[in-house]
Subunit: 455 residues, 2 copies
């Protein structure tokens, strides 16, 4: 029997987006600008261009263009692994016995294993266009580092990756994938940088964090001629590139006359969630449609649900500009967890602002519950999810079970950002009953927030 809605909706190549969508252009109250940490003045294009590629700086500062053309070479690369399927989770719905209709946009069908490639290829393209030799970056779970390695290999750029130490150790094979694409990978914090040495002195034996690794990558780019730093999340430019997720999703849904009631995504720095919700949130901001948005974060790193909304450093070493965001403080080093991609102290300024103004909800979940949902999902839907992505699955299942209680036939959409093939150590810990949950105390969070910069 041919189902009315297919299991997987793939757009045709000519239906794929030709432009990215800039969510900030739809916001009446714009996210606050990045500030120079010394002068406390908004960062200028010139200042930012010392760290980032020129064209990316323009995108970073542009909060008025609603659409920005995707360069043809990037569109071509997208065609290698996109369109990503929008999947109707028929099997999960059946297993849950819910009247809800569940959809997920699956971004894991590429070797980086996640949505990260969407921005990596764009950033590598602009670096190449600028005539740079290479780029530096950080990676947590390893997905962004892999994505950037692939993108740099494609455009013939050198790629230096600082990988959060606990991920580096838990995922030796991630490093090997990056090496296959010719990248150079260093565990962070390292003794290769001044900031790395300083962090190691202050926190001996630390597992590292995204915040530390960012500092090291920025410092390294600054020291090398023809290099710039690139970042896989948090920045406006990244949300812009990731809008391809939401644009494809909306086109596919519109084609079949589907309107989601609830849209759910995991949120570390916010790139996937920001990208997924962009065209939907734009409609909400314009009063055209209403949607419920839910950001899901780990209880061990609850920047939205327990953080302050304040100016803070994007990195632990305080070498970056200040960004106004929901934050736990750049000194907060989240407990080691199995969702390395969500171990970031802050949240992208756009989502922080939208959350603060009530356009978006957030919940925090325990990793043990997340892995339970991950396994349940894998068994019925086939795909073994990344721990990060499974945060969204957990809440999508919760929402679907609420519908079972109330009888509501809600349409639930979530972002399945990636696969867990390099996360089997985490699954092993879960299977062996060795996984625990760390919930930071109020005192711990207060202490970190006390160290927020005075702005």
């Amino acid at each position: 029997m041919q189902k009315e809605i297919p299991y997987k909706i793939y757009l045709e190549e000519n239906e794929m987006p030709k432009s990215w969508m800039n969510l900030r252009a739809y916001m009446k109250e714009k996210p606050a600008p990045l500030l120079n940490a010394q002068t406390l003045q908004p960062m200028t294009e010139d200042e930012l261009s010392k760290v980032f590629c020129r064209e990316l700086v323009k995108q970073e500062l542009d909060d008025t263009s609603k659409f920005i053309l995707i360069p043809e070479e990037v569109q071509d690369f997208y065609k290698m692994y996109r369109p990503a399927p929008l999947v109707r989770a028929y099997c999960l719905e059946k297993a849950l016995g819910t009247p809800a209709k569940i959809y997920y946009k699956f971004e894991g069908n590429n070797t980086s294993g996640s949505h990260k490639l969407n921005s990596a290829i764009a950033q590598a393209y602009y670096a190449k266009e600028q005539g740079l030799k290479g780029v530096t970056t950080e990676t947590g779970a390893g997905q962004w580092g892999t994505a950037l390695s692939m993108a740099c290999s494609y455009f013939g750029l050198d790629c230096k990756v600082f990988m959060v130490k606990c991920s580096y150790e838990q995922k030796p094979f991630r490093r090997e994938v990056m090496r296959t694409y010719g990248a150079n990978v260093t565990p962070s914090p390292s003794t290769l940088t001044e900031v790395g040495k300083k962090i190691l002195a202050e926190h001996p034996g630390t597992n590292g964090s995204l915040g530390c690794a960012i500092s090291e990558a920025v410092e390294t780019a600054g020291k090398l001629d023809g290099y710039r730093y690139v970042l896989g999340s948090v920045l406006n430019q990244v949300l812009l590139h990731q809008s391809v997720i939401g644009l494809e999703t909306k086109t596919a849904m519109d084609k079949y006359g589907i309107k989601p009631d609830v849209i759910i995504g995991c949120a570390g720095g916010g790139s996937n969630l920001g990208g997924l919700i962009t065209p939907f949130m734009a409609e909400k901001l314009q009063g055209k449609e209403d949607y419920e948005f839910i950001a899901v974060e780990p209880v061990s790193c609850p920047s939205l649900t327990r953080g302050a909304y304040a100016y803070d450093y994007c990195d632990t070493g305080a070498v970056c500009p200040l960004s106004k965001m929901k934050t736990l403080g750049s000194n907060y080093i989240p407990a080691a967890s199995h969702a390395g991609g969500l171990r970031y102290h802050g949240m992208t300024s756009t989502l922080s602002e939208l959350y603060d103004k009530g356009y978006m909800k957030a919940v925090s979940v325990k990793q043990t519950e997340v892995f339970k949902a991950a396994e349940q999902f894998a068994r019925v839907e086939g795909t073994l999810p990344a721990p990060e992505s499974a945060h969204a699955i957990k809440v999508a299942i919760d929402e679907a079970l609420k519908c079972k209680e109330t009888g509501e036939e809600k349409t639930i959409l979530f972002g399945l950002t990636g696969t867990g093939y390099f996360d089997m150590y985490a699954y092993q810990r879960y299977h062996d009953g060795e996984m625990t949950d760390y919930i930071p105390s109020d005192e711990e969070i207060e202490l970190a927030l006390k160290k927020l910069p005075k702005v």
Copy 2:
């Protein structure tokens, strides 16, 4: 610019095959029947049903039905991860500077990481229909074991997997994926079976082989009530299920008016290659069209290029029936290599017969060259291939380079059976320059062939 042929051709759900295609039905000279090793008479349906599921035995023996309906529940499962894309390798063509047009059918976009799921779900379905409790099997690289674990989990069956020891050790995380799907995994040879103990006594310190693991799985199924043995390759039934690969490919190519000149696949037991070529070979056998078919095998395990065409045991322990095939002898234990899925002493009887009659060519390649091709492919096409699949890539590249010399604009099709995400140890060895090639001596092969059963 919209290319005439898209990067990826996805069929619509309603264009997916409703029936499998049975290649043997198109062969005038049928592959020789399985023989009872004691009586040397063709195996009867009753005899086979003691080892295999009833419906699968019927498929195994059926060499006249051209099409066999795919059960609706299997069709539904297929929709979870199929259709698989037919990819135009634009970037590889450009990198090679070849006038050839290269296509590959990519079967790796599912958690088992390969085409194996196509037959696993069918076999699990028939086991479930028969009211069995569970199944046993062997796995080499781990792809088949993972696929069967997923399929059994979906239908609520128990799954016991004997995993070739060298793969078990090289790929600890494969075991963990199987565990996620609830399977029980044992390294083979083990002391859990009589045949395992015997092999260990005769070959102390052996790395195991597919042939050993098959023996152990068959013995185990025979000892347990409500269990049958299932196999991921070699058998006719598996080629039948894998015809879904070729059928989708041909439908997609026909839709765009593409006719392949050369069709290439890696060949271990022959399931992927057999499935890919089915509809094309059927046309060749009927004299409707001509195609060149190339099977690619490792130099370390050259059953087609250096084996005898003779009746032999399918397994090392000689607990299985005899099959007439191209074989190196069931006593031949291939050197440890990084393409565990190709470490099998024989070749499915259908492909053996077609090769023997000149309908198909075969070449053997060195693993160091295979990994070179794998890395080249990954860097331009994005997808990091499984070592097995990379055998086909190597020869596809060779063919494309020949076209570059001659100026021929051939259309080359190959099967990209899976991804290498669990093969990073092998890539690491390659990167570190620690990978070597083992080419068996003539004496070694003659010695193994001397032990062929007298039929």
